[in-house]
Symmetry: D2
Subunit: 346 residues, 4 copies
């Protein structure tokens, strides 16, 4: 079986395994207080053009989200999220388990707008019962989103401006940030994101690392005592060096972006082939996740050779599915899949 | 100013104050382990026709909701609620603060249906990522609802049946249960509710008591150690006798239902007058909360003499507002308000 | 049976019941936003000589403790408490249930010292693993303590100074503050406490009210959004007026202190009698809780007429017990008990 | 510098890195639902002789502890731990952050006894205020302990018996279980531990893996829905295969025990040398952690070449420190250290 069901079906880029092997017997301090983490933090601050940011490495995305959000909010404060946001849908209530409500804003493309945020905030403060409701204090967005879509410069700037106007914290989940930043439609870059967001993370797990997410905190008041939070929430890796080493490999020579670009290119090839074969998509996505709407009979055929995910009935005879590419996707597999779709006769 | 903004604008029915005064110097044990509580528990079990139920008295509604729900669910389990449910909207995230997600089901009239619950449950267990989502385990309904509407016998039975089929707990918030059970359209009674629900509460605060809610637990597995939970969540009143005394007064001679009926009658009078004057309602409510849609100019006039709440813009010139009656509502006030509405010329 | 087992065995001082009856039909806003609460807040600020304090009324002590502490601390921060502190021993883990560790400092008399606090704090910040431990951030003391003892001016000042030096918040649980402030040994007063503490509460439940505790927040950074916290934790009484009315009665004419003095006087009478009969005490207490060590045979006799609490084996033939007096304690009961103890022949 | 400050100063045993490299491009499902995890679970059940156990792989120890404990307890229940237990001291309140009190039992050697547990439990249920206190429901022990000591067969059996008698869950933290099971004094084995404990974990992080702990749940009622808990608490590794692969390498050919034995042998060499040089120990430890009490002047010398941890002043001129060996400790380093200690003249 050839897997297109997620972007974490393989191990890690070989350069990472090599670095781990090379440094295996070097002794270091634990808990991220080693030379490799120090170096990787410097590297990341540099690519973000934010010397005074704090950078922390955590193991996984849900862990990162729950640690960042619970570190930021007071008990009665909530985080706003698109209704499709990972924290609202796919973290088994991890945020609520830290005591905070996630308030969903409607969205069909995985994104929310500055005006939605403003409207929600104003409706809260003007409600006569405001103290009987959770207080919106953080905004969660993901880029690329769970539907593969991306924010552009103007959109992000507007969201950031609204957040600053109303003293809301802006947090970007960058589990798939590389895919967003290397797709054709993108006009964002890390320094701009670091300017606009109070905290964000750069995802490793889904972009070539064994695991790991790099949290970048740019707002001073969110920096204090963050390591206590990581430890309390179970996210402080004893051999923290493993995280530093991986991010150093990914960012010292732009490997991170090369890998993401490969995923986007293979996805684009699929998109064009599927589109050329006359099929439409649930959502137009410029990144590594594609959501074609295909005949159920074709899907039944594809299932014999390929694994896809998130199947969703569209009408009696068609379903949308998710196809993911990654740093490890082989051109031959993509071409085979395209051929199998193009060759299908309804 | 004459207040129609809530059903807790006065103190308590005089019979309650009298009973408190009469018993004031009797010495009792604390924390609800006194003779008055014991007696009131017996009384309530009897009116519910449930000898083997457990009855506990708490001070307020949000406290009761958070205690019951957090006592019932394991950490990853969620409670389903209509989108208008008090726990979803008006408890400052009290349920989330105990670690649990409240999952909102769409509703325009404050109610949810058995089929909505079934669909939600089935969609959870059939989702390939079910372990990445909160597990629905409890269903929260209120009767009467936050919009004044009520469940009938068939609806409640269907909901109860679905809950039992899928091993979901059914919890009824009865902050305004008296109003529901004494309105003209009602075909429910306490014994039937006690049969259908695993746990519910009979509200005192909004129905003539100084404060107090009587939790009735009918399902054995939810009974264990509930007093530990009350204490931990800050709801164990030192002078618990105050709760027992009030519920005994309310239920020993049907005072509870008499008071509720008065509120419904005064509300019905208002409803008919407003309707007769040509105005419509946001929702048809047979209980003590009425939601007329009135011209903004009329509301501007009414504001000089009356207090109402929950104002909500409907169109450029009209708003819906909430008018509440209660055990203490005076006929003269209701008649005056009706007159002032009828006398208005647009 | 005559109860000396707690200071909340009766209802409330009659003046409180009278006020409730007088105002019963006045309509007010809910949730503490009424004229009576406003007035009582002014009164309390005045007796504390703290015009810019925030005052809030809650129903009970555990509820108050958990609301104040969880409102103050970030998730990884802990509160220091004497090992006998109510929050450490007798609140069913209410503080931990909000996510915070209570760190116990050794104590035999219910009190802790400034140097204990300093030592604990310094040992934390000098520990190489400090981020792997909870960070002490609040100090909890009670006055009078759970053992009836009190802090004097010098002790409180030292504690307050240490807390300010290390930026720790000082919180005083005043469930029995009146008893402390009216006993013979006391040299504290409310204004001095308001100067020394960042937040404290004045207890009503155990000192003549039906229920109720008045939280006084003097430190600005702890004031923000406290009402959201009260609501979320289930402590916002719908008919908040009941709290305002009671505190107004207790403080408008010093009734609070008169009632406390009566309790202390009856306790002193007991103490002298018991001491005169040759018995010793677990701890020398100048307030309304007395802990005599009595022969088990005598206790067996006393049990037939009296209720006491907290029995604790001292040696084969003796146990310490707690005897509480209150505003409602009758001189005749105290005299009878003294006589019964004095008349006992071993 | 040569590090003896912990047992996680290097990467992983080379056999693990090799296996990761070999399998790197194999595509698998995520979240621990892959063939490698399946195989490793079978292997572990076999070495534990518990076919019907559930095995789960998590990344780190604190994460494992908080997930297991919060999955087991109801909100008002507490876990008993030696005062030196990792969950009580070194997890930044992670257990409390899930809402549960950790109740410390006195211990000087890192262990607790069956009779301490029984006494604590009985004192709870016989306390008149039992509902005002947390209810002990789980017992946490570690083996080897944080002080390097171990439980023997008789001790563990007694603890297990007491736990079953009072329906308490027994949980063993096996972060250093290999060291315990391979030291000379040990008479325990995995099948016996699996019989005695309701849940325990086998530590990988400190015993040759890059990271990873294998949770073994033997008690049926604790198995249900555990994966929801892992996900919610942020412990579900996307590339779960990494955990399965590592445990398979460690257990398929007894590598785990060989590595642990090496650490114990190098530690024993150090112990004998230090003892032979006339120094005593804080605690007699038969495993890889040694706590010699050394002159401060000697320590000042050693600091120039070696890193140790947990320094603790014993008297004016002496301190106890911790020296850890591990799977990666070189004999030459141990011999050099021994020589440097032996060669010191006071």
């Amino acid at each position: 079986m050839i897997r297109f069901n997620s972007d974490y079906t393989e191990g890690a880029h070989p350069a990472i395994l090599e670095r781990l092997a090379e440094t295996n017997f070097v002794q270091t301090n634990g808990y991220g207080e080693d030379e490799y983490c120090f170096q990787a933090k410097q590297t990341i601050k540099k690519v973000c053009n934010k010397e005074n940011a704090d950078v922390h490495f955590l193991v996984g995305g849900s862990q990162t989200n729950l640690t960042v959000i619970s570190s930021t909010l007071r008990p009665y404060q909530s985080v706003l999220s698109p209704v499709s946001g990972h924290i609202f849908v796919h973290e088994t209530g991890a945020i609520e388990a830290t005591g905070h409500k996630v308030e969903a804003l409607p969205s069909t493309d995985g994104k929310i707008t500055a005006s939605q945020i403003e409207e929600k905030y104003l409706s809260h403060i003007h409600d006569e019962s405001f103290e009987h409701m959770t207080q919106p204090k953080m905004v969660y967005i993901s880029n690329s989103t769970e539907l593969g879509t991306i924010y552009n410069r103007a959109e992000l700037k507007e969201i950031s401006d609204v957040c600053r106007q109303y003293d809301l914290y802006l947090y970007m989940d960058g589990a798939r940030l590389g895919y967003a930043l290397t797709c054709d439609e993108n006009d964002l870059d890390l320094p701009f994101i670091a300017e606009c967001c109070d905290v964000f993370y750069i995802g490793g797990t889904k972009q070539g690392a064994l695991f790991g997410e790099a949290v970048v905190i740019t707002r001073d008041e969110l920096k204090k005592d963050f390591r206590y939070m990581i430890k309390q929430k179970g996210g402080m890796l004893a051999k923290g060096r493993l995280l530093g080493l991986q991010f150093q490999v990914l960012f010292e020579d732009n490997l991170y972006f090369q890998l993401a670009r490969h995923a986007n290119e293979t996805a684009a090839f699929l998109r064009k082939s599927i589109s050329g074969a006359g099929y439409s998509f649930l959502i137009p996505s410029p990144t590594n996740q594609q959501f074609p709407i295909l005949p159920n009979d074709l899907l039944a055929e594809l299932q014999k050779k390929y694994v896809y995910s998130n199947s969703q009935q569209i009408d009696k005879n068609h379903s949308a599915v998710r196809l993911c590419t990654s740093w490890a996707t082989k051109w031959e597999d993509v071409k085979q899949l395209a051929q199998d779709i193009e060759g299908y006769n309804e």
